[in-house]
């Protein structure tokens, strides 16, 4: 299945052949998420910004997704404007992107 189109979606000068922005939450496991993303043809995938475990850094699925998809950070879970702004700023640093979505 492909969502390819001859009319690309262009955001801030970046062209996408798929208009689908895929969420990454609530999949039953990582393989289902990977399979769903592959089948969807999506090129943009959402990511949340979360505190890391202080037990040490372990690679997350997002480390893998980042090479294949454009990760779109969001401010989900923030309860104040200050939280949302800081989370967006952290996302910009972590993902080296000025893009952010609110949800």
């Amino acid at each position: 299945m492909s969502n390819s189109t001859t009319d690309p979606l262009v955001i801030a000068g970046v062209s996408f052949s798929s208009r689908l922005i895929a969420g990454s939450a609530r999949f039953p496991n990582n393989q289902v998420l990977l399979d769903a993303l592959e089948a969807s043809g999506a090129e943009i995938v959402t990511a949340s910004i979360r505190r890391i475990s202080l037990d040490g850094y372990a690679e997350s699925l997002v480390d893998l997704l980042g090479d294949r998809y454009r990760l779109l950070p969001n401010t989900s879970g923030c309860v104040t404007a200050r939280d949302a702004i800081l989370t967006a700023e952290l996302a910009r640093e972590a993902l080296e992107t000025n893009w952010v979505s609110s949800s």
Binding site: T46, A47, S48, I52, Y57, V62, L86, L90, A94
Partner: protein, 68 residues
């Protein structure tokens, strides 16, 4: 020893900079997709080796995860 609040947890650690804090916590400072804020302000990655921590600092260490 420096008393810090790290991701909401109090800790007293012998670290002087953000880079030292990450290493002490078993986090590779060169790992991709990391971001750090101190007292509500983002500290750029390039500044981690020199960014001094002071007693009472509130440090947030984050990375992207599935969600949203």
């Amino acid at each position: 020893m420096t008393r810090l609040r790290i991701n909401g947890e109090e800790a007293e650690l012998a670290v002087a900079t953000i880079a030292e804090l990450l290493v002490e916590r078993g986090i590779d400072p060169t790992a991709r997709f990391l971001a750090v804020a101190v007292n509500g302000a983002v500290v750029r990655r390039a500044e981690w080796p020199e960014a001094a921590l002071s007693p009472g600092d509130n440090v947030e260490i984050v990375r992207p995860l599935q969600g949203g």
